[in-house]
Amino acid sequence: MSNAAAVTDATWDAEVLGADDVVLVDFWAEWCGPCRAVSPILDAIAEENAGKIRIVKLNVDENPATTMKYQITGIPAMKVFKGGENVKTIVGARPKPALEAELAEFLA
């Protein structure tokens, strides 16, 4: 199972929008196979880039308000937030090197 902390509709504003650091939110669900595949890859990226990017997870089944707000219709969806703004979106599982390349600006 993932090491990433869970965020919810209730904690979204404080944990994501109000955060001082760069946060990647992994929108996921139990029934989503590609989400399970990408989860350990995100764990590894978080561990290798501690202090640069914080990775959290939002369960789309349990948190419909945030899921609707960001018009998520496909998961895994990975959204990067900086200063309350969604600065990057990646949809769909990717191998680790491909994810690292897409996130390069936040991992430097």
């Binding site: 669900a29 196979g33 590609p34 595949a37 018009q71 219709t73 496909g74 680790k96």
Partner: protein
Amino acid sequence: MAVENVIIIGSGPAGYTAGIYTARASLEPVLVASSVDPGGELTKTTEVENFPGFPKGIMGPDLMEEMREQAEKFGTKVVYDDVTALELDGDVKRVTLGDGTVLEALAVIFATGSAYRKLGLPNEDKLSGHGVSWCATCDGFFFRQQVIAVVGGGDSAMEEATFLTKFADKVYVIHRKNELRASKILQDRAFDDPKIEFIWDTEVVAINGDAALQSLTLRNLVSGEESALEVTGLFIAIGADPRTHLVHGKLDLTDVGTIAVAGRSSRTSLPGVFAAGDVVDPTYKQAVTAAASGTVAAIDVEHYLAALPQELKEYA
């Protein structure tokens, strides 16, 4: 570093079946299954009703789990990484993985399947995950009580449309022709479904929306007339292309883009390199034909290895 007997690239029915057969032949195969997509396209389907031996049907992801287990049971070593480069000429083949590991083997079975075709329209990538999808079982959940469309006329399009009626209020099926390519049983199921409406002789010419899909622009191919269709979801099921980018310029391809093999065998244009499954098959593309093709490749590999000079065999 040890040289393997055989490396199998791909983890669909062809790859796993080649694993079962080569493992039972004591070749200790290594199977590279991909990091994020192990099990292949069948993991994105629901009920598989036409795989022999499962009269009650079996879920696609479950079938692939069973195949993996069966391959591992006889000693297939499954590696969850992606192939990034291949050296296929020479007696010893080299396979580079995403983490930088280089594997060597006397034979390679290439069973990478096919990748979903895109429409090739401007907003298609931008709205992917925001209304545009290639996988009903993955994303259908997000379209409860909405009006959505499926484009395509084959088995996958009918399966997706029928599956999506569980969630959506209405599913349009947009097809370029006025008849379907899908099998009769899937056609009948779609025709009988009150939530499905067909839009014939029509293609999608634009995908409209800013942050999320709002509408499609359609063109009737008979009258030339264009119209708008308001939908929040578009599922693209217009077929798939063989996944051959790793072997471009290395192996001969056919004029339809599949890997060329000799006759009914799996032998490619390079000795020691074999290909199986949808990557060699422009016609049938079934789980069971891919599995059979994996068997052919496994037996071809056995014969190839048996005929190698003794000094090469001693590598492995």
